[in-house]
């Protein structure tokens, strides 16, 4: 908790730094209101996913600078808390790493009033890095099978034949592997295990979920805890949001896709993978389904997407304009500020769908 918030502060400070150092032209554009931002007045409260907390703090800060009449407050607390708060009518929208389940959906729909529905809007996407601490090894390929076997504690040495096969010509030390996973429930675990389940096939038998299910390894609280563990332990490996790997100077591997090709973690590769996702929800309920089976060697398959959950209609009339304005900013020019926090902006086609859904908020 505390390390995470400390990092948030650090990232926020880093964000300020880049703004200020970017020179006059950039500085001007960041203080002037982008043309597509519609202002609303009043206040909004929200809670939920900590995975998108960094993005939200940047967004709320920017939007309140553009629109001085607006007051926005995003408290973390986790996706479960976000959904519960939203369903109980405590907050105006929720941030969640998982789309609403059928049961939650009916409760959330009821909260929005008769005939209205709550919708999931994918708003923040980012890559999950497989970070490792292996002195002397700068570049590492890990196939989905190998990652699965490492995290299931079936591969326990770095010079295991399976890892050597992924990395011809690389001299791997005979060091024990110490895998780190999240000990708290998290969307990062959910998406990481989803990737393993789909791309590692029979090597991963633990399904996917927000709680870690495989045996062995060390659990750490929060992504900050995992990053700290990997950084301080030679021979360690762990999965984390990219910003934490960058922040802590942790190397990350090229990960294997369903075809066994190794894909580098770049913004283009992540967006490419996101653009292959299909919408599984109905209407404007934009629940994404990733295409893990694709054969594109330039699509990084280990990604995280987090949603905003909001009433499409039936919002408090005083707040509807602000909600629509803020969400319009998130889906519009707000996407452009994501890159500096280790996230990736939504692919254009998906972004247009989100914008179309936001247009109908009332």
């Amino acid at each position: 908790m505390a390390p995470a918030s400390a990092l948030v502060v650090m990232l926020a400070l880093a964000g300020c730094g880049t703004d200020n150092n970017a020179g006059a032209s950039d500085g001007a554009s960041s203080t002037a209101r982008p043309t597509d931002v519609a202002c609303g007045s009043g206040s909004l409260t929200a809670s939920g996913s900590t995975a998108q907390a960094n993005a939200m703090s940047e967004w709320t800060k920017d939007y309140q600078r553009f629109c001085t009449e607006a007051r926005l407050n995003y408290g973390g607390g986790g996706s479960g808390k976000g959904v519960t708060d939203f369903t109980n009518g405590v907050t105006d929208f929720a941030g969640s790493d998982f789309p609403l389940t059928a049961e939650q959906k009916s409760q959330a729909d009821a909260r929005c009033g008769a005939g209205n529905q709550a919708i999931d809007l994918p708003m923040v996407a980012g890559p999950i890095a497989v970070g490792y601490n292996l002195p002397g090894v700068d570049s590492l390929n890990l196939s989905a099978d190998t990652i699965a076997n490492i995290f299931a504690s079936k591969i326990t040495k770095w010079n295991d034949p399976a890892i050597s096969r992924d990395n011809p010509g690389v001299k791997l030390p005979s060091l024990g592997i110490q895998s780190f996973h999240r000990s708290d429930g998290s969307g990062t675990t959910f998406n990481f295990t989803n990737y393993l389940e789909n791309d590692a096939g029979s090597a991963w038998t633990f399904g996917h979920g927000k709680s870690w299910a495989a045996p062995g390894g060390q659990g750490s609280k929060g992504t900050a805890g995992v990053a700290q563990g990997v950084k301080s332990t030679p021979g360690a490996i762990g999965y984390m949001e990219l910003s934490y790997a960058t922040e802590n100077a942790i190397s990350h591997a090229k990960v294997g896709n369903s075809q066994g090709q190794f894909v580098e973690l770049t913004e283009a590769n992540v967006r490419n993978f996101l653009s292959k996702a299909t919408v599984a929800g109905s209407g404007d309920d934009l629940v994404l389904r990733f295409d893990y089976a694709n054969t594109d060697p330039a699509a990084y398959p280990n990604v995280l997407v987090t949603y905003e959950i909001v009433c499409q209609k039936g919002n408090d009339p005083d707040r509807a304009a602000l909600l629509k304005g803020f969400f319009g900013y998130l889906a519009g020019s707000g996407q452009d500020v994501l890159a500096q926090n280790g996230y990736v902006s939504l692919p254009d086609e998906l972004r247009q769908k989100v914008q179309a859904a936001v247009e109908k908020i009332g």
Binding site: P3, P215, Q218, S232
Partner: protein
């Protein structure tokens, strides 16, 4: 802090709800609550207020306020208990395995699967280990402060010990995570290399986050409580007893063994219980330091184990409806454990005091 003399009063074995003094502060208040509950028409105490024919307004007001407070407290307690039961029972009834014996925690899957066994085990083992590590040091500190160090110095040193108790637990957790976990690796490896033949020190080569490390953090956290109470108790040892021991030719250590420690024993046990209770309920420090999983293993050096409180801290944020109910149910179990520990401690204290009363 309750600094009643640990001398048993005559009321031992009488109707008085509290067996003896020297037990912990909570005990006293619990006793008051009980008498407030049981005595619907408590006998009026003969006091100065009765002598004057009409009761003064202030007296009536005060009595009314204090009665209301007592009733309010009990009502609140009952309401909380009912609320917890109300949330916990539906979750437990949805559990597809045995809540008490299962060792997994997936309450939001369908069907929900969760059980408390590993959590209870981890809670008890880490707290017992922490107490074992903390008590000798705490008693040592208290003895040094009361018997060895000159008064001039004892004050400041005692203050420093108390200061340890004022550090927020999240700071202990961060310190444990960032400093202690890496620092424990060599010690854990050494223990495992040379004492690995003892099952609890066996290991498969992964060190750092373990029940052992968590216990060390907990031990440091509960040390000041135990030390402070023990110091208060040992400070109250009558000078006559000590002088008598020395007059009989006892060395300082013999004096401590024969006069000081026996006198302070009920108080030390009370202190231990308070410390143990804090260890049982400690949340965030343990959540940060433990590698949470749901295995039951005797190997205290391996990255396994979880506690009830840490599990609540870890999983509450992302828990769904059943998940929250399950966590609340686990909280009830923790409550029950604390209750049993407190009752057992009171029984022990009472027996010891009676024994001493008879001997004295």
């Amino acid at each position: 802090m309750d600094s009643q003399e640990p001398v048993p009063v005559e009321q031992v074995g009488s109707v008085g709800p509290v067996g003896s003094a020297g037990s912990v502060g909570q005990v006293g208040s619990a006793g008051q609550v009980r008498s407030a509950l049981g005595g619907s028409a408590p006998p009026r105490r003969a006091g100065p207020s009765r002598r004057g024919s009409p009761q003064r307004l202030g007296d009536r007001l005060f009595r009314g306020t204090s009665r209301t407070s007592a009733v309010l407290l009990v009502t609140l307690l009952v309401a909380i208990a009912l609320f917890l039961l109300d949330k916990a029972i539906p979750a437990i009834s949805q559990d597809s395995r045995n809540f008490l014996l299962n060792r997994t925690w997936f309450p939001d899957e369908s069907p929900p699967v969760f059980g408390i066994a590993a959590l209870v085990y981890g809670t008890l083992v880490s707290s017992v280990l922490a107490s074992v590590l903390a008590v000798p040091v705490a008693v040592g500190v208290a003895l040094a402060l009361t018997q060895y160090i000159p008064r001039r110095l004892a004050g400041p040193v005692g203050f420093l010990v108390d200061l340890l108790a004022a550090i927020p637990s999240v700071v202990y957790g961060l310190w444990g995570l960032i400093y202690l976990v890496p620092a424990m690796v060599p010690l854990s490896r050494w223990l495992s290399d040379y004492f690995g033949w003892i099952p609890i020190f066996a290991s498969d080569g992964v060190f750092g986050k373990s029940i052992f490390t968590a216990s060390v953090v907990l031990a440091i956290m509960i040390l000041p409580i135990i030390a402070a109470i023990t110091r208060e108790v040992l400070d109250k040892v009558p000078q006559d007893h000590k002088e008598a021991a020395i007059a009989l030719g006892a060395t300082r250590w013999e004096m401590i063994r024969t006069a000081v420690l026996p006198y302070g024993r009920p108080g030390i046990i009370g202190a231990l219980v308070l410390g143990f209770g804090r260890a049982l309920g400690e949340t965030i420090a343990v959540a940060l330091v433990l590698s949470a999983n749901y295995e039951i293993t005797a190997r205290i050096l391996s990255p396994a184990g979880n506690t009830i409180a840490a599990n609540i801290a870890n999983t509450f944020g992302d828990a769904g409806t059943t998940g929250r109910g399950a966590l609340i149910a686990s909280g009830l179990v923790l409550f029950a454990i604390t209750l049993v520990v407190n009752l057992a401690a009171r029984a022990v204290i009472r027996r010891r005091s009676e024994f001493r009363a008879a001997a004295g």
